[in-house]
Amino acid sequence: MDHLDALESQSIYIFREAFNRFDRLAMLWSLGKDSNVMIWLAKKAFFGHMPFPSLFCDTGKKFPEMYDFRDRYAAEWGLNLILRDCPPIEEIDPTLPPAARSAARKTEALKRAIAEFDFQAVIAGIRRDEEPTRAKERVFSPRGTDANWNFKDQPPEFWDQYKTDFAPGTHVRIHPILHWTELDIWRYIRREGIPVVPLYYTRNGKRYRSLGDMDITHPVASEAATIDEIIAELEQTSVPERSGRAMDSETEDAFERLRTAGYM
């Protein structure tokens, strides 16, 4: 087994644990490269099937290419897609810095969907190498009754024995690709031929490394026009992946605040 095989196998194991342990389960689909890889892994885990719904929380501010991608692949992959709109910015904690406040709309939409469908578990495609608080996440990460993350007292998690017992009213976030890096993701996309939104490829000397809302996501300078070129670029660069995501760095604690309040 090479490294990609090992990563894939671990993710499949996590997906199967999630599906076995929880009846009311959904996967977040953000249309980005990571969540497409997740769908691919789920199909491998379940032999071509997607046995739980995919949830898309629409901020209304995604790039047009992303909406096109969603409509095409939701059909092609046979997803049971749940679409929910995010609430307006006025309903979000005004003490958050502007980009974080904007991003928190997604948390709110997610919480409402969890309540609406009574989901016990939500699968999210975060990775440890994206951001330092995500680096401290558990694979099965319990959330309190208000979807909050109590990072000061995370459960022990070892030997692939995950926390699967929960008090009523709480839920769990499950992170099947937590152990992958950006480079792993692209190498896997290349190996498997997984489709991605074209915004990842260069246009006028710039490309997106991470896709979010149009107004708080910026492209990075890049000439990479193919997956091979993206991989070659990532093997050399020391620019962090999320440097184009304004919400991460407005203040030192902005992202921590977002995440402890239930952001992915």
Binding site: A45, R128, P132, P156, D253
Partner: protein
């Protein structure tokens, strides 16, 4: 940067290293420095760390690279473990930074359990401390054999060879006493970058490897492909026509056509196919580490938790074993306590039969065996009602370890030894072969598959008037309505036929219960859920039935005190007993021995019949379902 260039190791699996040691000895600083000195620091990070440090009025704090939470930075302490990737010229690494504070031992174990090698960091001035020893011990228990000691903060010890030798001696003595020989002991200053990725000019007396050189000399964990096959069943899918058994191969190999043994059910079947979505060519062989799906040539009963092996190299079968345990629970572990055990993909109720010793790992002294307290290590004996398939940890770590769950939480982990306990597979195989000869070729599990539920004996015991017959009949009705195969045995249909020759002497009573037990077992083997309603006041009699029916036996205590039953007295029996008209009446003039460890207790004195039936249905729902997921979901 050269270390990031594409090279031959691009597709290599990273070596996982955990950094452990006492609080504040400089673990996170070491990792921060390692990332920086190997050129793996992202752009802008140094400036960000500088700003964070200045904001807090501190000199540059390398630990802030990993200590991401405000609470960690403000208090200068690592709360939770972090994983970070980097690479040297030789290979890629996954570095796991663990917290040193005793309060966060669960997080240290979370980090350390995933590692193949460890760096044990010791402060040169502070020397070997409690968590240095505890972490050293736990590394050993977790099976991590490659340990390098890093003596840090040598700048504060004047870079002196003498102090280094003292600390080295102390830690070597301790590790030696638990059977660990460190690969290297490296003097460093994490903060100043001495002997991290480059040789220190300040310590010319040291000629051994730097930290990165020591890492590069670790070996990758040996392949487990050559060990006997172990495939814990994770799930059984029926999304379409195929019935796919899914799981991850923990060790060994599996090929199409292999005859597989399922433990503990002791059934065999052959691999018909290996299923893979999107595979270019049919897969004919899979090996350790792969998450796979297989189909069988025969529809035998398979469920999550069973362990698949080859026939000639099966795991142990036992219901009792010895374990070395680390305890993380807030409430102490004591003899007689019951927990849920998770072993591979299985979940089993277990009871602590014995606490043999408690080890204070800080000084290796023996502790009081009355209670295993948080952060203790103990040798215990665990017993399970049902048979388990296990391996000894030394033979196969992945199926030789388990965790215990109390309430909603994982409260401990342990490794298995079968020292002093025989494999019980031999005895069982003989028995089941005999049964086979007279039992025809349709097995009990075949009935289960057909009925879509398991079978068994739900043995209601309790005083006259406690509600046994009422509940038995109500349960039968409800289960029947839901499509279950169910039958009630009670005094009337037995006493009038099968036991018509028996009276009410103690011997006759015992014989009656024996017959009921045997008949129940036959029903259960035919796939039926049997509900019995007998007072069955004597523990010995019920234990006898338990012996007859084995794992099929479910003891349910229908509880109501004598006063309650007497006030109900539907048949006027209590009145007669009080009047002396009935001799040896249970509860009045004859004893009732309540169950000590019933599978379910239903207190009918303060709840409605509906509530009691709901409890029974719930029990059947969890204990008699087949763990097979249908495609209908989602």
């Amino acid at each position: 940067m050269s270390d990031k260039t594409q090279d031959a190791t691009q597709g290599a699996v990273p070596l996982t290293i955990v950094i452990v040691g006492h609080v504040d000895h400089g673990k996170s600083t070491l990792v921060g420095r390692l990332i920086h000195d190997t050129g793996s620091m992202p752009d802008g990070k140094l400036a960000a760390i500088k700003a964070m440090s200045e904001k807090r009025g501190m000199p540059f704090e390398w630990a802030f690279l990993l200590d991401a939470f405000q609470a960690e930075r403000d208090q200068g302490i690592t709360i939770d473990t972090t994983q970070i990737r980097f690479r040297t010229q030789t290979r890629p690494y996954l570095i796991i930074d663990a917290p040193g504070h005793k309060e966060f031992l669960k997080n240290m174990i979370t980090g350390a359990a995933a590692a193949s090698a460890a760096l044990l960091v010791i402060d040169a001035v502070d020397g070997v401390q409690e968590q240095s020893r505890r972490h050293g011990y736990l590394l050993h228990l977790l099976g991590i054999r490659q340990v390098t000691v890093v003596v840090n903060k040598m700048d504060l010890a004047g870079y002196g060879a003498e102090r280094f030798a003292e600390v080295e001696g102390d830690i070597r003595r301790y590790l030696g006493s638990i059977g660990v020989t460190p690969a290297f002991v490296v003097p460093v200053s994490a903060r100043e970058g001495d002997n991290i990725a480059s040789r220190s000019a300040a310590m010319p007396w040291y000629t051994g490897p730097t930290v990165t050189e020591a890492l590069d000399r670790c070996t990758m964990p040996p392949s487990v492909d050559e060990l006997p096959l172990r495939l814990p069943v994770q799930d059984v899918y029926k999304f379409d026509q195929r019935r796919i058994i899914a799981g991850r191969i923990e060790s060994g190999r599996l090929r199409v056509g292999d005859t597989l043994l399922f433990s503990p059910s002791n059934k065999t079947a052959r691999v018909a196919s290996i299923e893979a979505w999107g595979a270019a060519a049919p897969v004919t062989q899979v090996s350790a580490g792969q998450s796979v799906g297989i189909t069988l040539d025969e529809q035998i009963f398979v469920e999550r938790g069973q362990i698949v092996s080859h026939v000639e190299s099966a795991p142990f079968e036992t219901n009792v074993f010895r374990a070395r345990l680390f305890w993380l629970g807030h409430a102490p572990l004591t003899r007689g306590r019951q927990y849920k055990m998770k072993l591979a993909t299985g979940e089993f109720p277990v009871e602590v039969q014995q606490v043999e010793s408690v080890i204070d790992v800080a000084d290796l002294s023996a502790g009081d065996t009355a209670a295993v307290e948080r952060n203790d290590v103990a040798e215990i004996v665990l017993r399970c009602r049902s048979m388990l398939a296990v391996d000894e940890f030394i033979a196969n770590p992945r199926t030789g370890r388990f965790v215990l769950v109390e309430g909603y939480d994982i409260v401990g982990g342990g490794i298995i030894s079968m020292d002093g306990y025989p494999d019980q597979r031999g005895q069982r195989t003989v028995v089941s072969t005999n049964i086979h000869a007279v039992e025809s070729r349709v097995s009990m599990e075949d009935h289960w598959l057909k009925n879509h539920h398991k079978s068994g004996v739900i043995w209601l015991t309790g005083l006259s008037g406690a509600g046994k017959t009422t509940l038995a009949l109500a349960l039968e009705h409800e289960l029947h309505r839901r499509g279950y195969q169910v039958y009630v045995l009670d005094g009337d249909n037995i006493r009038h036929g099968l036991s018509a020759d028996l009276g009410f002497s103690p011997d006759d009573r015992a014989e009656n219960i024996r017959r009921v037990g045997e008949v129940s077992k036959l029903f259960a083997q035919a796939g039926v859920i049997v509900v019995t309603a007998f007072i069955s006041p004597y523990r010995a009699d019920r234990d006898h039935v338990r012996e007859i029916a084995g794992e099929l036996f479910h003891e349910v205590y229908v509880k109501a005190d004598v006063a309650t039953c007497e006030s109900r007295d539907p048949k006027g029996l209590y009145k007669k007993a009080r009047a002396g008209e009935i001799k040896d009446f249970t509860g009045i003039s004859a004893p009732y021995e309540a169950p000590e460890a019933a599978d379910l207790v239903i207190d009918t004195s303060d709840q409605s019949i509906d509530q009691s039936v709901a409890m029974l249905l719930d029990y059947v729902g969890t204990r008699f379902t087949m763990d097979t997921k249908q495609a209908a979901k989602g």
